[in-house]
């Protein structure tokens, strides 16, 4: 029914097209073609200052959307831990944040939860986005120059948990929130 020659011609075209576009400067082409499940997390020296799980978090401060300065270790002195969720006011961010607000926060009233806005660039813009997205009841920190975003090598959805001693307990995507709840339940 098929011409073998034609099928090979089609395969050749597909390979050529892929090769051309790859040569054109595409990165990471093969990573998703053959995904790895190997644990390649780097070893971390506990107690050193850094952003990896087990390290002592560096201090920082940001303005919140009401214009108040909020320092990490000041917050830690008043709570069992701090959760930072890096937010860019997008659908996935909203799915994560609304889930965190409804399903996780009520179980940990002595933990401080913050959305970190790293895209709007000012307190006024961030406050406007906070209100229009329905998060008036959550605290939002404004990372106007992406200092903390870069410090934590974060991306959209990155969720950081820091315990009251300043130790980083989690630094990864929110996903379905299960990992966050597990980590929070282990806080001293």
């Amino acid at each position: 029914m098929f011409s073998v020659k034609l099928i090979w011609r089609f395969i050749l075209m597909a390979v050529l097209l892929t090769s051309l576009l790859t040569v054109a400067g595409c990165e990471g082409l093969t990573d998703d073609l053959t995904p790895s499940g190997d644990d390649e997390r780097p070893a971390v020296d506990a107690g050193t200052i850094g952003i990896q799980v087990g390290q002592q978090s560096p201090d920082f401060s940001m303005l919140d959307t009401l214009g108040n300065s909020r320092g990490l270790y000041d917050e830690l002195s008043r709570a069992r831990g701090v959760v930072l969720y890096f937010n860019m006011w997008c659908p996935i961010c909203d799915a994560h944040a609304s889930h965190m607000r409804a399903q996780v926060m009520p179980d940990f009233p002595d933990v401080s939860f913050f959305l970190v806005d790293y895209v709007t660039g000012s307190v006024a813009n961030s406050r406007a986005a906070q209100l229009s997205n329905g998060y008036a009841g959550m605290e939002v920190l404004v990372d106007a120059d992406q200092f903390v975003f870069n410090l934590y090598e974060a991306s959209m959805g990155t969720t950081i948990v820091i315990d009251s001693a300043g130790i980083v307990m989690m630094n990864e995507d929110y996903k379905d929130g299960v990992k966050l709840a597990e980590v929070l339940s282990t806080l001293p």
């Binding site: 075209m13 998703d32 006011w89 806005d117 709007t120 406007a128 329905g134 991306s155 990864e172």
Partner: protein, 325 residues
């Protein structure tokens, strides 16, 4: 971010079809750049297709379907250059490959990002459940009402840059990182000058291991995206010009949804989505039907209830196809 990019109905005049699937997950926060698959006209040997999508973002629907504005001062766009090739394998069989190249342009009041890369490619094979031309000028017999029906399988290959690649952040994303197998059915009927087309597509993602998120290695886990369904209805009207070139105007309505995914056996609600959109397509075909020029506009309404957990976008597509007899 899905919308339909429809090939010109003028091709239907030859019993061929132009169609399918949707452009893509466009926002860089969601992954982007899956491609469009091609359908070769009947009795043609091969076809080259080049199109350029310009997708602009205008807020999003949250998980409850409520429309939300983008942050103040933002201008979010994705551009895709789609290169496609389709060829005949047999009298009723054909295959196609489409590769998109994606540019992300995200401007916020406090942040600017411009990135680019290959999107997710699509390979497809289609069976034509008919031999002759099914387009008619008049219905004289019940047989004249028999539509042209196509059954297809397409495979989306994760050649794009996904969140699981070695990337810096979400602005770099041009693909979703998952293989997906779609079963497609298309039913088309033309009684000149009118045409109607129905398309249904059901796709399943393949589960994969993840050990890295946005360049950072994490505790490995297994992830699957939810099943995907796309339905599109299109109605078109063809004008025959004095020189026998044709101009076809079409309107379309699409519904796209994706179920909740799965992480290590648990339900992952974050990728569950829905989008409704309408489209207007203009296609100009030469008398020989060897060259087809197309322009389309796909619009999603920025109102609550038109989608869920998905960006609201408008997509303008310009393109050209050349058919080899």
């Amino acid at each position: 971010m899905y919308s339909r990019v429809k090939m010109p109905l003028a091709l239907l005049a030859l019993g061929g079809i132009a169609l399918t699937s949707p452009a893509a997950w466009a926002a860089s926060c969601c992954g982007g750049g899956s491609a469009t698959s091609l359908i070769l006209p009947k009795f043609s040997q091969s076809m080259l297709d080049v199109s350029f999508d310009m997708e602009s973002y205008n807020g999003f629907w949250d998980g409850d379907g409520t429309y939300r504005n983008d942050p103040p001062g933002s201008d979010l766009n994705q551009y895709r250059l789609n290169l496609g090739y389709a060829m005949r394998l047999g009298s009723r069989w054909q295959a196609a490959v489409v590769a998109p190249y994606v540019w992300n342009s995200n401007q916020y009041a406090g942040l600017s990002s411009n990135t680019r890369g290959l999107g997710d490619m699509t390979l497809g094979v289609t069976y034509e459940a008919f031999d002759g031309i099914k387009c008619v000028w008049k219905v004289k017999d019940w047989k004249d009402l028999v539509p042209a029906t196509y059954f297809g399988l397409s495979l989306t290959v994760p050649t794009g840059i996904s969140p699981y690649d070695d990337v810096v952040n979400s602005f770099d994303i041009t693909g979703r990182g998952f293989y997906r197998l779609d079963a497609n059915v298309m039913v088309d009927k033309t009684v000149y000058p009118w045409n109607a087309t129905l398309l249904f597509s059901y796709g399943k993602y393949l589960s994969r291991d993840v050990n890295r998120e946005y360049g950072k290695y994490v505790e490995p886990y297994s992830k699957t995206l939810g099943d995907r369904m796309l339905g599109t209805a299109t109605v078109g009207y063809t004008l025959f010009l004095d020189n026998m070139d044709t101009m076809t105007f079409s309107l379309s309505y699409s519904h796209l949804q994706e179920d909740a995914g799965d992480i290590d056996g648990r339900v992952d609600f974050t990728t569950e989505m829905e989008k409704n959109s309408v489209g207007a397509i203009l296609a100009y075909s030469t008398m020989s039907r060897e060259w087809v020029y197309k322009l389309s506009f796909i619009h999603a309404s920025p109102y609550s209830g038109q989608g869920q957990n998905f960006p609201v976008t408008d997509i303008v597509t310009v393109g050209v196809s050349h058919v080899f007899r």
